[in-house]
Amino acid sequence: MQSFSRRDFIRLGGIGAGTLLLPQPGVAQAPEPEQAPHFFLLIVLDGGADPSYMFDARPLSMTRAGKIQNYLGEEPGVWTGRNGQTTLATRLVAPLMPFRDRFSVLNGVYMTPGFDGHLQNMNFLFSGSPFGGDSFIPHLNLAETGRHPDSLDAVLPTAPVNVNVNNHSGVVPLQPDSLEQLADRLKRAEPPRADDKIGHFIRSRLTASAQGEGRLAAGARLMLSGLDQAPRLYGKLAQLKAPGAHLSPEEQTVALIAECFRLSLSRSAIYVLREQFDVHDAEQAKEQPDRFADAVSTIAALFRGLLATPFDAKRSMFDVTTVMVASEFGRTMRAPDMAIDNTGTNHNQFANSVLIGGKGIRSGLVIGASDLPNEAAAASKAHLAMDPVLEKVMGRPIDLRTLSVRPDQPAAFDIQDYLTIGSVVNTLYSMFAVPKSRHRTIGRNLPEAPVLNGLLV
């Protein structure tokens, strides 16, 4: 088995380095600078990305044995965390090598065990319910965290996407290319005012409609809240400088996010990578090496931009931002009844991978693992109960206190044995001081998903 040295990764990463000049926008002054600013950037791989092309790779011997597709056709290297835990990583992650001490890798993360649809699992990522509900991102921006809420919970600076990442109040698409027009038109328009006659009347009707418990009352309450915030938002948007057109898309994005964060316009940003990873079809699956190469290059560019963009005189954007990279789920090893060199893959909600770094995170760690690491490995009875045809790898049991993978092979599936997305979100909640009452449970009638304390600085 080949082992990648740090030098190898730096050399490989250097191939892509230098192609992006770092954005240096004029640093706007935050109107109300926080003593301990803390922001959140979620980078989404859309469609359910196969972790085996990044940080949960499998040896080629498994492909030769017909167990798992591998269109990269190269032996992965060993990626060792500061905590001594290892995973296999493909060369496609090389652009991230310069940042390896700035993020941790979480493997074998369970999404919703009961559903394998995109919508249900994207809902689960955001809200903890396959049917949707309150996204965790607005919770990071609540007054109850002890911070003054920013005007918007999050901005979505990427092109419209087919996923439901922004269908939450306060999470709004705001793209660099539309920003200039918006700011320009807003400067010429009359902002909503609460102190004129018609403003008072509109507010009075919203207040009247907001009484009670019905759907319209709830909508009117959101409108009222929006109206309260609108004048301040208007002022901030008018100050917002559109990123220079000469910058690359990633540079424009980082510049826009930095502006939004500095102006207290939004607490979070959601960046949806343009590559589509839902590769049921063999021809699409064969494009995964290229798609992942592009996606990883973009992630690296975003990391680089965050490090190079100042938040203020002392801190970079990376210093004040927690960054997470996630997909709605992973993928099966192969599709049934298709040749191993001509197969697509299906959805796998039992083993997702998450990268997390930046403010508040102990970085450089490898946490968790998925099972079936080689062609000879046996599946546990718990695995066979959930996936009798062995199409999927599944997260391995983990000691959530020490964050070490357990060696046992459970006889029955119990979600409490595993690393779940609920624990990842609760760890974010813990960092952002979101009250315990909002923490996710592991499942219905089950206890709270444990915070991954070992992941926190």
């Binding site: 949707g132 709004v172 009347f201 009707r205 009117a220 409108m223």
Partner: protein, 189 residues
């Protein structure tokens, strides 16, 4: 038989998926509002073009829009927030001003019945313009049957009280904005 079970399961899941957002009314969206207004006030076959009043054309999506992903359909950006509220306000303020401007420099084509109501209102603050029937015609012309009589009375009393001596175009603009920013007009019931 299995397809029947699958279809039933799909239906259950779709119904359940809608449940979370069923707790809060969302904006009807740009397309629906444009269509409603066109049906009520525009001449037959000539729908209103409200896009002139938007801060920018690609803001339409921010005001509530349908999207499809495979068999999954969802309505996005419909929950009110500070930004879409502000865009609605800017857009509808522009529309309201254009309705008011009809008294001297018409910019929008309306159907004859609505024009007839506007002509009466353009005599504001005359007693004829303040007639209950004229005010109700204007209210129904814009709001339709979306809101209760109570909402109309609150709007009528506000206009008669606060705009009793104002200029017609200013009053009509306030009337229009007062209706179009009402949650009964903008939100799904």
């Amino acid at each position: 038989m299995s397809w029947l079970v699958a279809a039933a399961l799909m239906l259950v899941f779709c119904l359940a998926a809608g449940r979370s957002e069923a707790q809060t009314s969302q904006f009807k969206g740009w397309t629906a509002i444009s269509r409603e207004l066109s049906i009520r006030v525009a001449p037959a076959g000539k729908p209103l073009d409200l896009s002139d009043f938007l801060p920018s054309e690609d803001m339409v999506e921010l005001l509530g829009t349908w999207s499809a992903f495979g068999s999954e359909h969802s309505f996005r950006n419909g929950l009110p927030n500070a930004l879409n509220l502000m865009i609605w306000h800017v857009t509808l303020s522009g529309f309201a001003k254009a309705v008011g401007d009809t008294c001297h420099t018409p910019r929008i084509e309306f159907h004859p019945r609505f024009i007839s109501t506007l002509q009466k209102l353009c005599t504001w603050p005359s007693a004829g313009a303040k007639d209950e029937r004229v005010l109700l015609d204007f209210w129904m012309g814009v709001m339709g049957h979306n809101a209760s009589r109570q909402e109309f009375e609150a709007w009528r009393d506000f206009i008669l009280r606060e705009y009793k001596n104002n200029r017609a175009e200013e009053t009509i603009a306030a009337m229009t904005l007062g209706i179009t920013m009402n949650p009964h007009f903008l939100l799904h019931r």
